[in-house]
Amino acid sequence: MADWRVQRKARDARIERGRVHAEGKLVAASAVVDLLEAVLLPGDRVCLEGDNQKQADCLARGLSACDPVRVHDLHMVQSGIVLPEHLDIFEQGIARRLDYSYSGPQGARIARMLYGGQIALGAVHTYLELFARYFIDLTPNVALIAGVSADRDGNLYTGPNTEDTPTVVEATAFKNGVVIAQVNAIVDRVPRVDIPGDRVDFVVEADRPFYVEPLFTRDPAAVTETQILMAMMAIKGIYAEYGIRRLNHGIGFGTAAIELLLPTFAERLGLKGKIATHWALNPHPSLIPAIESGWVEQIHCFGSEVGMDRYIRERPDVFFTGSDGSLRSNRAFCQTAGLYACDLFIGSTLQIDLQGNSSTVTTNRVAGFGGAPNMGSDPHGRRHPSDPWMKAGEEAGGTGDPALRRGRKLVVQLVETFGDKLVPAFVERLDALELARKLDLELAPVMVYADDVTHIVTEEGIANLLLCRTLDEREQAIRGVAGYTDVGRGRDHAMVEALRARKIIRRPEDLGIDPLDADRSLLAARSIKDLVHWSGGLYEPPAKFRNW
C-alpha cells in the first residue's frame, strides 16, 4: 500500500523538532540558530525572503550562523540576493545551489563566486518566472519570511512592503513546507491580517527591525536637461500619440523626469486625463506632483517606498490600502498587472545592440533581472483591445482581417547615448554575451529582447522600431538615434534621412520641441523639499535625501 503522506509526515516532524525551541509559535531571537538547525535538513529547498526592498535579515544572519555540519547543501530559491549573508552561506557550505531573480547590490560578488564555482547556478529568472516555478518545480521546503508584526497565533501583518510574502507562503505552506516569519514586534492584535496564522509555523521576534532599501527615490535636483528633453519627446511623441493611459515606469532619472513633467509640459499640451492615469508602479515620490494635480486615477504597487507611508494612507482613492489604512502591495499581482493590463513599459538600460536587444549586465556584474523583462515584453496571452495596443499592432504591419490582428504592447527604452562615465549605451555586441561565454551559460542574460522593443528614445530622437520592415532598416533606425557613439557614427546618412521621412526616426524639431526649452524650470519639483511641499508635508524623505 503506497504512503501518500510522506511529505506531510516529514513536515510534522520538522515542526515538532522546532517546537522544542519555541513557546507555542513564538521563538526568541536568541534561539534562531537552534530553530533553523532543528527544522532544516541537508539539501532542502529554502526561500530566504529577500525582496526588492524588504529583507528577512534576522533570519539571514541566523542561517549564516548555523553549523555547516548540520545544515548544508541547501538549494536557495529567492528573488533577491541583496544582503552579504545571502552569499556568505555559499562560502560556508551551508548552501550550494541557487535560483534567483535580482542581485543588484551583490552583483559583483555573485559574479566572482559564479566564476569561482562556489555557487551552482540553476538560472537567473524574471520575478514572475521564479514565482511560477515555486508552484511547479522549485517549491520550497522551508520559507524564511519577514513581516512588521504578528500575534501569538502567527497572524502576520507585513506592513506596506508586502511584496513577495503571499506568494512565497502560498507555495510553501500548502505543499507540506514550513514557514518561519521574523517580525519587528509581537502584538496582541495585528493591524490587518496579510498572512493568516494557520500558514505560519514559527514567529521570531527580531533583534532589530528588518531592513528596507529606498530603491525608488530619485532626487529631482539631479535630473538633467538632457533627461528633460528625452522626457518631453517621450510625452509628446509616444504618450500623446498612442494615448497611453495604462503604464509602468522603470526607476531611472529619465522616467522620473516624465513624472515631473506631467503637471507642467504635458498639462500645457492638454493631455491631462488622456495619458498616464492608471499605473503599475512602486510609490515613486516623483509622482507626487502628478497625483496632487489630479492626473492619476489609481496605482497598484509591487512594494512600498521608504517615507511614503503617511502620504499613501491619506490618498486611499489612488492607492490600494487595507482596512487599517496602510498600503497593500503585492509583487506577483503587480507584475501580472504590468504584464497584461498596461499598454506601455518605459525604462532605461545600460547597453543596446544593433538589433535592439538590451542588457544591464557587464562582464563583472550579474545584476539579474527583477521585473523589467516581465513588464518589458509583449504578452502573447493578451486578448483585450485598447487603442494604444491596437495602433501599435497596426504599425507592426499586421495584414489580413483586422479582427484577427494581434495588438502590440509598447516597450520603450529611454537612454542617453552616453551613460555614466561617458560609456556608450549603444554597442555592436552586448557584454552579456561575453559573460555567458565565461560562465558557460546556455542563455545570455538579456533584459529586453529585440523583438519586444518598440521604441528607443535618446536625446537625438525617437526610433519607432514597429515601423521598420527589414533588419537593415531596424539597424539604421537604431544607429540614427545613437548620437556620437561608434554605433551612431556608423550610420548610413541617406538611409537615416529616408527613415526620418517615413517618421521611423523623429528628431525633437520633428515633434515641435525646441531643445532649448528643455529647462529644469519645467520640472514640477526641483528638489526633494519641493516633493514634501507638494505632499502637504505627508512625504517623509529618508535623511540621506534631505538638505534642510
Binding site: P263, S521, A524, H533, W534, G536, A543, R546, N547, W548
Partner: protein, 310 residues
C-alpha cells in the same frame, strides 16, 4: 496649476536661487537689463596657477563682478559661481572681488552685494587665496566705515564656507535661504578631523540644522530668511540695505556683547534643536519642516529674536 504648492512660473525672478548660475542670479536680481559686467569672460582673465595642476580654467575664474541698479539705485555686485571649483577663492577670483570693493570706495554706490557660493580658498593657489580673504575683509571694513553697506546673499549649492564664512562675518547684513549654509569648516572637514561620532557629514539633516539657513537665522548668524527664489533675495536685499547698521564703536561693542551672550547661552548645547528650545521654540523638531511664512511667524513670536548689531 494655480494651486501648485511649488512655483511653476517661467519668470526669471521666480527661478530657484539654489539652481541658478551666478550670471542668472545677477541678471534677475537687478533692475531688468541694468547689469554691466567688469572684466567679463571675453577678456579671459584666468588663473595663472591651475595649468600647473592640469586643471581646466574658467574665463571668469568663477566670479562675476559688475554694476547694476536695484530699485533705481546704483549697486556694485559680485557673484561666485559654485559650479566652478566649488566657487573657491583663487588669486584672480579674489582680486576681482578686492578690486570691486576698493572701487566702491570711490564710486560710493547704495550698497555692495556679494552673492556667496563658495567652499573657501582654492587649495591649488592657497597662499594667494588666503591673502585675498584678508584683503577682502579689510576692504569691507573700509567700505562700511565710509558708510557703504555690504550685503551678503547666501543660498547657493556650495554654501558659504572657509574664508567665505569669515568674509560673511564682516558684512553689514546677511540674507540666507533654507538651502544656504554658513560655516567655516565644512561637514567633511569636521568629520575627518574629529570623527563621525562628533559630526556625521552624511547625516544631511544634521548638517542643515547645524549650518543651514534656518539655524543661522535663529541664532542671529543671518539677518533675514528668504525663500529660494531670486525675487525673495531681491526683496530681502533691498530691505536689508535700508537696515544696515552704522559701523562705529557702539555697533562693535554691541556685536561683541551679542556674541558673548550667545556663547554663554548656547555654548554647552549638543544639538541645534537644544539651542532652538532655549530660544523659546516650543517644537524644535518641527523647525526644519516649516515653510517660510510659518518660519517667519515663529521668529516674530520668539522673545529673544531679531539680534541686531553686526
Amino acid at each position: 496649476m494655480a494651486m501648485s504648492p511649488v512655483s511653476l512660473s517661467a519668470d526669471p525672478l521666480d527661478q530657484s536661487w539654489y539652481e541658478a548660475s551666478a550670471r542668472a542670479r545677477l541678471d534677475a536680481l537687478v533692475d531688468p537689463g541694468s547689469f554691466e559686467e567688469f572684466l567679463g569672460p571675453e577678456q579671459r582673465v584666468m588663473s595663472p596657477h591651475l595649468p600647473a595642476f592640469d586643471l581646466p580654467r574658467a574665463f571668469d575664474d568663477g566670479i562675476v563682478v559688475g554694476r547694476g541698479s536695484l530699485g533705481g539705485s546704483l549697486v556694485l555686485l559680485a557673484a561666485q559661481e559654485g559650479r566652478f571649483m566649488g566657487g573657491a577663492f583663487g588669486e584672480i577670483h579674489g582680486a576681482k572681488l578686492v578690486g570691486l570693493l576698493r572701487a566702491a570706495l570711490q564710486v560710493r554706490p547704495a550698497a555692495v552685494l556679494i552673492l556667496f557660493d563658495t567652499g573657501g580658498v582654492r587649495l591649488q593657489e592657497a597662499n594667494a587665496g588666503e591673502t585675498a580673504i584678508a584683503e577682502i575683509m579689510r576692504a569691507i571694513a573700509d567700505l562700511r566705515r565710509a558708510g557703504v553697506p555690504v550685503i551678503g546673499l547666501i543660498g547657493g549649492r556650495a554654501g558659504c564656507y572657509g574664508g567665505g564664512g569669515l568674509i560673511a562675518g564682516t558684512c553689514s547684513r546677511l540674507v540666507v535661504s533654507e538651502g544656504g549654509r554658513i560655516s567655516v569648516s565644512g561637514p567633511e572637514v569636521i568629520e575627518t578631523n574629529k570623527g563621525a561620532e562628533e559630526f556625521d557629514s552624511r547625516d544631511r539633516a544634521l548638517v542643515w540644522r547645524t549650518m543651514g539657513g534656518k539655524h543661522r537665522r535663529l541664532i542671529g548668524g543671518a539677518d533675514a530668511f528668504a525663500d529660494d527664489t531670486i525675487r525673495a533675495f531681491r526683496d530681502a536685499a533691498r530691505e536689508q540695505i535700508g537696515k544696515a547698521p552704522a559701523f562705529d564703536l557702539a555697533t562693535l561693542e554691541a556685536e561683541q556683547a551679542r556674541l558673548e551672550a550667545r556663547l554663554d547661552l548656547f555654548g554647552d548645547a549638543r544639538d541645534a534643536t537644544e539651542i532652538w528650545s532655549r530660544l523659546g521654540v516650543n517644537d524644535p523638531a518641527a523647525v526644519p519642516g516649516l515653510d517660510t511664512d510659518r518660519f517667519d511667524a515663529l521668529l516674530a513670536r520668539l522673545p529673544e529674536a531679531p539680534h541686531d548689531a553686526r
